[in-house]
Symmetry: C2
Subunit: 333 residues, 2 copies
């Protein structure tokens, strides 16, 4: 294992320290327990959005803390849920009296720990809602999940619900739009290589030189099946077909097409996938209104990618386009 | 070799097609010969900036085409200079009568081909200037270069000179600030793994399981020396010490600290490097005024990183902060 790290047990702490230094104008990093909040939190009158999960998926979630997206992010150990005693202070720190929406990817540990933190917050008189993201069409139930996993769609939920909170929507409205995005988004991924959790020191699985894992999870957990390496176009078909099949978007629908890198794949290859996926959408009579291509939710240094399609409406497009200013996603500000 | 590609000979074309589709609101991709220009080129009255070089370093250079940065980018084959017959039409297409500045990384092939294109453009009556970026302190002369190589500093030259052109500076002024940025920027990189050029099919070099290449070039060409794998802090020291030694910035100087990923390194590891580099700068009495952390100039899927320091002045800070709207770098717009 070769990684640019110091002590494998300190990777999250060391990385958060650099993150806090590089983006001190936007965020405040708290340690012991670890959580990240907007520099200006709590933002008076605004619904607060808090997300989190295991580390190793950067820039998710800490990279999305800032105006127009998250108020707080809670990073666990690598590929390990954050604990309630991390989540609760992030909720308390960001709550401005208008309530807090928790955005949780559907993994059993995350659900449990966010639920516990939510109960503690409610006991203190805070108003809490939770949206569970479960956009991965690859498998029903898997290593760490009952039901579908939450993957790249999470970035879109955080962005669009974050924009709604920023314009002043109340807790019910922000929750409703987060749920609407989750209902209209589907994803599926593929791995060309495994990744190595620093404190484990060994790859979490192995793939042969000519083999890929179709429907892989963002922790390298198994997907639908292994198949021989194929062309980018053929692989894109294997991802986009189940995504569209499950989404069932009507012809003429407007969509956002998101091609996400898992961390170790060159950007140029993501654009090759994009080219074919865009062609497939066009052939199905779907209109690509917005796009996102890059490493937005990763699995450490894994080589691979995922394809996500979100059905858009006018309000979502307005919210998507509104200013966002976070370390990893920024425009209009 | 597992890559998300179709035909290895078509990777640049396939990728450019996806790039053009994903960013059709910002750029226009021309094929045969291949070059990328701003959607609104030529921009009346504005000095045009054209850069380019071998592909495989994405998002450099095509990802930086747009308002406040480049007017045109010319991608060669992977790790291969673009030809004069690609560069010339990019110059012709973007020239708006105010002259064209060519930003060229110091590699022998690039220098030669941009020079030939410049001569042809001058023969047509166009006004052309060239700035050669050579920020890599690792080696004097190397596999593809006489003198120092041009690496991550190129991103900063393109951004700051691009901002100067956008505000209306004339050709002499834009050239002068590009030269000032190049004079005040130094970089050095490290590779943990090699990378594989698609049409070659094999890694361009090999590193043992516990070995790294210090001072590596962005094509995987040799650097200063190979050394055993070490901690992130120790590696950051090996990069930042020569950078600062060569830069010779006075105590109290204001700087931009840029930690760049080579393509296959997780963002979390770049922040670990950043944390240590920032500490070293602070210990030397330098003030970090601006930061950039991410994959901005890559070597395909190589695992590794580079550290860049640029000495800033008031004008550079203003230009850095001004709006930029490109596929890969965006703020204020």
């Amino acid at each position: 294992m070769k990684k640019l790290i110091n002590d494998p047990r300190e990777v999250v702490a060391d990385s958060l320290r650099g993150f806090g230094l590089a983006h001190h104008d936007l965020v405040k990093v708290h340690t012991d327990p670890d959580y990240v909040v907007r520099r200006d939190a709590p933002v008076r009158g605004k619904v607060a959005l808090v997300s989190g999960g295991g580390s190793g998926h950067e820039p998710l979630h800490s990279g999305y803390v800032g105006r127009g997206m998250l108020d707080g992010a809670v990073p666990g150990a690598v590929f390990t849920s954050p604990t309630p005693d991390q989540i609760l202070p992030a909720i308390q720190h960001t709550d401005a009296g208008a309530g807090v929406l928790l955005i949780v990817k559907n993994y059993t540990g995350d659900i449990l720990n966010f639920e516990t933190a939510a109960e503690l917050a409610v006991a203190e008189g805070l108003e809490i809602r939770t949206v569970v993201v479960n956009d991965d069409v690859a498998v029903e139930d898997s290593t760490y999940t009952a039901g579908r996993r939450g993957v790249a769609g999470t970035v879109l939920v955080e962005r669009i619900a974050g924009a709604a909170a920023e314009r002043g929507d109340d807790l019910d409205a922000v929750t409703a739009i987060a749920e609407r995005v989750n209902a209209g988004v589907r994803s599926m991924g593929v791995a060309l290589t495994a990744c190595t959790v620093p404190h484990a020191g060994e790859p979490s699985f192995t793939l042969a030189e000519d083999e890929i894992e179709l429907g892989v999870g963002i922790h390298g957990e198994p997907g639908r099946r292994r198949m021989p390496m194929d062309t980018a176009d053929a692989i894109a078909d294997q991802l986009i077909t189940p995504v569209l099949g499950d989404l069932g978007a009507a012809e003429g629908s407007r969509v956002l097409l998101f091609v996400n890198g898992m961390g170790g794949t060159p950007l140029s290859e993501l654009y090759i996938l994009y080219a074919h996926a865009a062609q497939v959408l066009q052939d199905r009579g779907l209109h690509i209104e917005r796009s996102l291509v890059g490493n937005y939710i990763t699995a450490l240094e894994m080589q691979g990618a995922s394809i996500t399609v979100l059905v858009l409406d006018d309000d979502m497009i307005d919210l998507w386009d509104s200013p966002v200013h976070t370390p990893a996603l920024r425009w209009g500000a």
